[in-house]
Homo-oligomer: 226 residues x 2
């Protein structure tokens, strides 16, 4: 029984990876850099997008907003005048807790792939399943808020292990929390030694320039490779 | 294709509900009140358990700790000298993002069902799938931290709609956030009008006495019904 369940999950992930590779091929054909942007609910993904999408010199940005339902985050980004496409995971049942490659594929016709250089995919807020499903991205970035506690890398290791950059957000609140930043970074290094990390605050602006530079850097690197 | 997927999901939820009813029957047979305790990662579930499990006069408490992997939360509760059983969702693959009725059933032999009055089941930190899977509980309680933003009821409506009590946690931080409490409560009423809610802080102790009283109340009510 248990073995069967594992097999079904493996087959589902294999099928997902096949579609993810097709997405990646389409993105590559358009010279597009794609970032899968993940975090727990309320960690600040949308705020951290608001800080950067309209302020990357020479980089044309598009956003794919993944949510169980509604378009609140897409609405928040509307004033920034970059192409935003909403993708909801709820049609037909209670709602998927993550984006998968097929959902992203279904949204591709609505995205102006030829007119953008960087696609930021905001995943559903969740630290478990989004890490298991590739969607065709070049890079994975996650946000971990200091309000969530130091233990999160140890409790959700796959998420922290599979990302290329960890944005440690809400550091403007550090003075008001019992959060031990050194312990968090130690825990992070236990599951993903030396992964790139930036201390940021979408609210105070601290670290945001480095976050913009990181994004510009990966777009330039992809361009150089193309 | 899509219709088939919906059917598979419905069948999985039906199978889960059957096992959940069996769990519930076992709990009832022992005169046990069971609370399914849910939230996003880092909202403060374990801290809010630490505040109450050893301080409910006349109520013998047990805890079932659900985590993808590790036993950090169970270890945190160890000094309170109540029975704690760890349930990990990761064996065999990347890890389930929620507890289901079968996982809880598999842990029942390790729980001293005859020696406790209240079982608190701490679910995996996630605002989506835990709401879809009943585990045999009498009540659902969720924690929403004020650091997560006012929009969460609208973005994760099933979770907020299916719970009997919402603990609005970390209110000691309100002075340091842009969080609009009235707007959060308005959004909450949009998806679950008049659901019971308590403003609490595990850190300052505000509202914790009411949280204890709520738990004692549901245990008394179940006892009166039994």
């Amino acid at each position: 029984m248990h073995r069967t369940k594992v097999k079904v999950v493996e087959e589902a992930l294999d099928a997902n990876n096949t579609i993810a590779r097709a997405n990646r091929a389409d993105f590559d054909r358009h010279g597009l850099t794609v970032v899968n942007f993940m975090s727990a609910p309320g960690a600040g993904k949308t705020s951290l997008l608001e800080c950067v999408v309209a302020e990357l010199p020479g980089v044309r940005v598009g956003v794919l907003e993944g949510d169980v339902q509604g378009s609140m985050d897409a609405d928040r980004l509307a004033h920034l005048h970059v192409p935003v496409t909403q993708l909801n995971t709820d049609p037909g049942f209670g709602g998927e807790c993550h984006l998968d490659a097929n959902m992203v594929r279904s949204a591709l016709p609505e995205l102006p792939l030829a007119d953008i250089d960087l696609l930021l995919i905001e995943n559903v807020g969740n630290l478990v399943c989004p890490a298991e499903f590739r969607v065709g991205e070049d890079h994975r970035v996650m946000v971990s808020s200091v309000t969530e506690g130091e233990d999160k890398p140890l409790k959700y290791p796959l998420m922290f292990r599979t990302c290329d950059l960890v944005l440690v957000n809400k550091i403007d609140l550090l003075a008001h929390l019992d959060f031990d930043l050194d312990r968090f970074l130690y825990n992070l290094d236990q599951v993903h030694p030396d992964v790139e990390r930036l201390l940021v605050s979408a609210r105070s602006g601290e670290g945001i320039e480095q976050w913009r530079e990181w994004l510009s850097g990966v777009v330039r690197a992809e361009g150089a490779l193309a």
